[in-house]
Point group: C2
Chain length 197, copies 2
């Protein structure tokens, strides 16, 4: 069983991890757990999530860290930084979206990866942001073990992370994401009705 940890902070963005968590957790060989600084975390949308792990008590072995965006990524918590640093050092795949990418930029984690994010302009004041790689004006970018995305790209983010972890063939991942992006009727027009096969 492979394990994905979804790292959420207070006022996390409901929509940003929703497609990825549900896709992973529906498969028998993957499970999703949540992790945060506190036991109960509120989403931007007002949902109270009771998390599975407090940072520091997480399992040693996990296969993916998903850093969900939101309004609390300016937190300079040491345990948070330690978890992320260790995950990079262990070459565990990481997906970061929206505010979580700002945190990576601020703490120097983006310098050796091509990447994207909400906006490079807000990072100009970060003294640890000295990228050798490029900021790409794309919805989501995959480079080595890192996927980054802006906050309007939950589906593109999901697609890149699923490809990174080799969740399925690129063709099957593409079809799943087409359904999510363009909806049932457009999917049927392009690929046929999946319930009438």
């Amino acid at each position: 069983m492979k394990k994905a940890l979804f790292l959420i902070l207070e006022e996390y963005a409901d929509w940003e991890g929703a497609y990825l968590s549900s896709t992973l957790n529906q498969r028998e060989d993957w499970s999703v757990d949540t992790i945060s600084l506190d036991g109960i975390v509120s989403s931007i949308g007002g949902f109270q999530t009771s998390v599975d792990y407090i940072i520091g008590s997480e399992p040693e072995d996990f296969n993916l860290l998903v850093m969900v965006g939101g309004n609390s990524w300016s937190d300079d918590n040491k345990e948070l930084l330690r978890l992320i640093r260790t995950t990079f050092q262990n070459n565990i795949p990481i997906g970061a979206i929206c505010g979580a990418v700002d945190f990576l930029a601020k703490n120097g984690f983006l310098n050796d990866h091509n990447h994207t994010g909400n906006s490079v302009y807000v990072w100009n004041d970060y003294k640890n942001y000295n990228p050798e790689g490029n900021f790409l004006e794309k919805q989501a970018v995959k480079d080595k073990n890192l996927v980054t995305a802006n906050g309007t790209a939950p589906i593109e983010f999901t697609k890149e992370v699923l490809e990174l972890i080799e969740f399925d063939t690129p063709e099957n991942i593409g079809k799943m994401m087409y359904m999510n992006k363009y909806g049932f009727y457009n999917y049927c027009e392009k690929y046929g009705n999946p319930y009438l096969d």
Copy 2:
């Protein structure tokens, strides 16, 4: 302050209510609360939601009921049925998506509304589904005080519900939903960069 209740059952679909809850809850004049049959409800994606109200203890006054889809809508719980019947009787706006629409079909609530849903074929066995209105092959349908949608239509669902409750002008709602559907770069191409105004 207007109140939206998000009705979620075990294995609710993370992505279906995410855009709507976050849009509503970010506005000062709306708040979002969750309601269910149990105190802790798991999403399909493995998030544990600690709900605000158990059905039966909900406030008398609320302004919108959002029935989020998922895998437990075959439950014939009497309190669940009572909440939904009362909400229809009181002419409170209702949004229902995916599995939640199946529940409405099964219990005769769709008969006097134009509507959509995941698939009309699965409703043929429901003796209380005798529609005077039409099943429309669209992502989301608004008729009177009811919005229905299929499970691949969280954004179209959000748009129709926001129009139903007159959350903003149709033009502004359309722009917000364009950003969500097509992403930041397509939005900038069509409407200009909102951060450079």
